[in-house]
């Protein structure tokens, strides 16, 4: 009996001590942030998820960056905003001057030649640069200033202000580290793009050297001009970055937030499960929890104990949760079917249940917060199963003995049976999936739910093997190039819906190229109407970013753009309760 009593007491004591928040093991000037997934690759050329983008901003610098509000651009590696000169009706010259303080780790200055090298690398055949080529196709050439090694001009086709902004949105990489012999200097961007450059032995050997460096897993082979360097990476567990002892940004008299680097160390803890992440935050194992589930955020905010330890921030984002219809699948090829399926999402209910009401609806992919561009004449789609049935009939589907829906397509009898894929472990997406399935089942559409691991889901989306999928799309109010998302040339990249008609392609290209704001507004509104009718995606809601952070971090700089905070500018200044 004594033993049992002792055992019980031991169990009780260990439970109490185990459940109570541990004393923080964080050292001063250290920030520990929760990530839901591993970046998987840290090659700046193939960064394809929010985590790897964030790493890129710590290790490398672009010419420009987006301001915290997301509406303006701010110079980063560039000394000032670029000078723009429009030539005729199709060409544009964008001139930059690099910051004189900017240097690489070896003390050499960051010069225009590095920018030229990066652009050439992004067009180099044999490297995984399809995404870069799609995004920066408008940059035709780079002209280096012969009198100033830091000045250069980009020759762009098209005169859109989007192109000006995008022209500075890629990480500048060091030529001395990747191409010390300057083998790409003699090759032009045009030659690289046309594929003629494969004839150059120097290009082939460069590609081999680049691939041998294995930058995806060994970013330490690529020194950047950013303030941090990777110290430790345990895939699936954590990444630690340490601040460089000597960084060129320190020499700036009044550094903008993008060029501040206060924390000495930043650790990203990979915690896929939201509940576990919450526990880690409460135990003090992490300092910052971005994109927190709404219910938990509200609960922590109500708790006196948590309010004493944590600061809470919310900011309207430009990231939306969408249902993606793969228009390449036979069942989803016509717009009425897609419209019918859209009517099965109870969006107000989902916002209430999963976002505590703190999300906002939109009829299009443009945020309603962007007033001139958002097409407010479009009605918000409603949750209406009767309407769904009407639309299904309009699409040619007929109900067979109350068992399901069939239609003849290409001489075959096609059954309306769907699979719905979404990222496993995301409670909000799972809620939407279950709600959709219940509504679809009620009108006799069988739906197979497929919660899928994040990287596997991306692979399936890219291969076009999904049918309906739920995902989030990040955006910013200053960029309206829909080429990666909806252009028919991008179906092997980010156009997961496979949508694209000559009319929509033309509209996308016109939006990007027009320099006139009024014309752009008209085109954007027309494009939104087209998407509304064709429904390759259905926007469920725009998210509100919710961030909880330990008070010791001070005031966390939050932004409307993913990742919703600037880790480098966390300054540990005291915050009043």
């Amino acid at each position: 009996m004594k033993r049992i009593l002792f055992g019980l007491l031991l169990l009780l004591w260990s439970s109490i001590t185990g459940c109570s928040p541990s004393a923080t093991s964080a050292t001063p000037d250290t920030v520990r942030i929760r990530w839901a997934r591993d970046p998987e690759n840290l090659d700046p050329l193939i960064a394809n998820n929010p985590s790897s983008y964030e790493v890129s901003t710590l290790l490398h610098c672009s010419l420009l960056n987006i301001s915290d509000t997301g509406r303006n651009i701010v110079p980063w590696l560039a000394a000032a905003s670029p000078q723009v000169e429009r030539l005729g009706d199709s060409l544009m010259l964008v001139s930059y001057s690099l910051r004189p303080e900017a240097t690489w780790d070896n003390g050499k200055p960051v010069v225009a030649q590095d920018v030229a090298f990066t652009l050439k690398m992004m067009n180099c055949p044999g490297l995984p640069t399809e995404m870069d080529q799609a995004m920066f196709h408008f940059i035709q050439d780079i002209r280096l200033d012969t009198t100033d090694s830091r000045r250069f001009t980009l020759v762009c086709t098209g005169q859109s202000s989007d192109y000006v902004r995008n022209s500075g949105d890629f990480s500048i990489l060091p030529e001395y580290a990747l191409d010390p012999k300057g083998s790409l200097r003699s090759v032009s961007i045009r030659e690289l793009r046309s594929g003629a450059a494969t004839a150059y032995a120097s290009v082939t050997s460069f590609v081999q050297r680049y691939q041998a460096a294995q930058l995806a897993q060994h970013p330490d082979n690529l020194p950047g001009c950013g303030p941090y360097q990777l110290k430790n990476w345990q895939p699936g567990r954590f990444l630690t970055f340490t601040r460089k002892l000597k960084w060129w940004g320190d020499a700036l008299a009044k550094a903008p937030p993008i060029l501040r680097a206060v924390p000495k160390s930043i650790t990203y803890q990979i915690i896929p499960d939201a509940g576990t992440a919450m526990l880690a935050l409460r135990r003090g194992d992490i300092d910052l929890y971005p994109l927190m589930p709404a219910a938990e955020f509200a609960r922590l905010r109500r708790s006196d104990a948590d309010r004493a330890r944590l600061s809470f921030y919310t900011v309207d984002s430009y990231e939306c949760v969408v249902a993606n219809f793969n228009t390449r699948q036979p069942t989803l090829q016509d717009r009425f079917t897609r419209q019918a399926l859209s009517a099965l999402f109870d969006v107000p209910g989902l916002i209430r249940a999963t976002q505590q009401g703190a999300a906002y609806r939109s009829a299009s992919i443009v945020s309603p917060r962007v007033h001139p561009y958002y097409n407010d004449s479009l009605p918000l789609p409603t949750y209406d199963t009767q309407q769904a049935i009407t639309l299904l009939r309009k699409a040619g589907w007929r109900e067979v003995n109350g068992q399901g829906w069939v239609r003849k397509q290409a001489g075959k009898l096609l059954e309306l049976r769907l699979s719905l894929s979404y990222r496993a472990g995301d409670p909000a997406l799972e809620a939407a999936a279950l709600q959709f399935r219940a509504a679809a089942t009620a009108i006799r559409i069988p739906v197979d739910l497929r919660p899928t691991e994040a990287s596997l889901l991306v692979q399936q989306l890219r291969e076009g093997t999904t049918e309906v999928s739920l995902r989030s799309i990040g955006g910013n109010p200053a960029a309206y190039d829909f080429t990666p998302l909806f252009h028919s040339n991008s179906t092997s990249l980010y156009n997961y819906s496979g949508f694209g008609t000559p009319a929509s392609d033309h509209l996308i290209e016109a939006i990007v190229q027009t320099p006139d704001t009024a014309q752009k507004t008209r085109l954007l509104r027309r494009f939104q109407r087209l998407l509304y009718t064709e429904r390759p995606i259905y926007v469920l809601y725009f998210l509100q970013y919710r961030i909880a952070a330990a008070r010791r971090l001070g005031r966390v700089p939050v932004t409307s753009i993913k990742p919703s905070y600037r880790a480098n500018a966390i300054d540990f200044s005291p915050v009043t309760k």
């Binding site: 499960d273 939201a274 509940g275 576990t276 919450m278 589930p293 219910a295 938990e296 609960r299 109870d346 209910g349 989902l350 209430r352 249940a353 496993a424 472990g425 409670p427 799972e430 809620a431 999936a433 279950l434 709600q435 399935r437 219940a438 089942t441 009620a442 197979d448 739910l449 497929r450 919660p451 691991e453």
Partner: protein, 330 residues
């Protein structure tokens, strides 16, 4: 033979009956989320046990979860016991030297198996033609070798060692880790989960049956049957199994309890079952989304606890009764 059940045993039987009745009366369709009534606390009309973060009625989920539990655990336990029992009996009875085959057969079998292993991808894409080719190849080897004196000689198949090696291999990997690894790559489904659990949980019944078979095989009446030249299957069917299967029967509730625990763990981790299938583990997991909703912990936790406790109580009852007859626990 009639035995009076104690109060605890009555309670256990009653609870298990309640679980069975719940499974029978549970709604057959997937629960529909009620987004207007999410995380409602219990003891309120109409959701007497509360609702989960999606507005599902907890009582309905518990009933549907009971059915899932029974539909997963009972077939799994029975199939795993049969598979393990068969493997254990065969290993115990034949040992390493009793079962003999021609060398030609053994060689053909080994060659066929090796080729099949080497061509697994081709077998998956074109099972019939590739299988046929392998079959024809094996037959050719067999017919070629059986003409030789080497091929005609008999060779003992070490069935016991093979079964024991397989058991050791499976037991050397923690069961949960093994199940997790396989469940993570296969698409969630109830049938898939049953197959997965059967293939990983048969080792304990196999070890038990092997031990009991070894003991029974040594008894005089079995030896007499062997000496009398009775066919092997007849000896197994009429002389071995009647004395060994009660061990499996006693073990069955315990197997069910273990499988309920495993299924609940997998559902809690969000793998194994499809998301729309209600399960106690999944209901328990929703506490992670809503930690303040205590009813999401208490009701499914109590259901799991009482079910497993009842099964253990049932096992102890049976063992007590069985000891008096066979004394197998010593």
């Amino acid at each position: 033979m009639t035995r009076r059940l104690s109060f605890a045993q009555w309670l256990a039987v009653s609870w298990l009956l309640l679980v069975v009745v719940s499974a029978c009366i549970a709604p057959t369709s997937s629960p529909v989320p009620d987004l207007l009534h999410t995380q409602e606390p219990p003891f309120q009309d109409p959701h007497w046990l509360g609702t989960d973060p999606l507005g599902h009625d907890v009582l309905q989920l518990l009933l549907a979860g009971a059915r899932t539990t029974l539909l997963i655990s009972i077939p799994t336990a029975v199939l795993a016991s049969l598979l393990g029992g068969a493997a254990g009996s065969v290993a115990g009875f034949w040992g390493n030297s009793t079962y003999q085959v021609q060398r030609a057969s053994a060689a053909a079998g080994v060659i066929g198996a090796v080729i099949a292993l080497l061509f697994i991808p081709q077998l998956r894409t074109n099972p019939f033609p590739v299988g046929l080719v392998i079959g024809v190849l094996s037959c050719t080897v067999y017919y070629a070798l059986r003409r030789t004196s080497w091929g005609q000689r008999q060779i003992a198949v070490p069935i016991d060692s093979m079964v024991q090696a397989l058991i050791a291999l499976l037991d050397s990997i923690p069961l949960l880790l093994l199940v997790l690894a396989i469940a993570a790559v296969q698409r969630p489904s109830s049938m898939g989960l049953v197959v997965l659990l059967v293939l990983t949980c048969w080792t304990t019944p196999a070890r038990l049956l092997r031990a009991v078979t070894l003991r029974t095989k040594a008894l005089l009446f079995v030896e007499a049957a062997v000496v009398a030249g009775l066919p092997t299957l007849r000896i197994l069917r009429y002389h071995i199994w009647p004395n060994t299967w009660p061990v499996l029967l006693i073990r069955l509730p315990l197997s069910i309890a273990i499988i309920i625990g495993l299924e609940t763990t997998l559902s809690f981790l969000g793998i194994g079952l499809a998301p729309e299938v209600a399960s106690w583990g999944r209901l328990l997991a929703s506490i992670r989304v809503a930690p303040a909703a205590w009813w999401l912990l208490v009701w499914p936790g109590a259901a799991i606890f009482f079910t497993i406790l009842s099964l253990h109580t049932l096992v102890s009852t049976k063992i007590t009764g069985f000891d008096k007859h066979l004394d197998v626990t010593k």
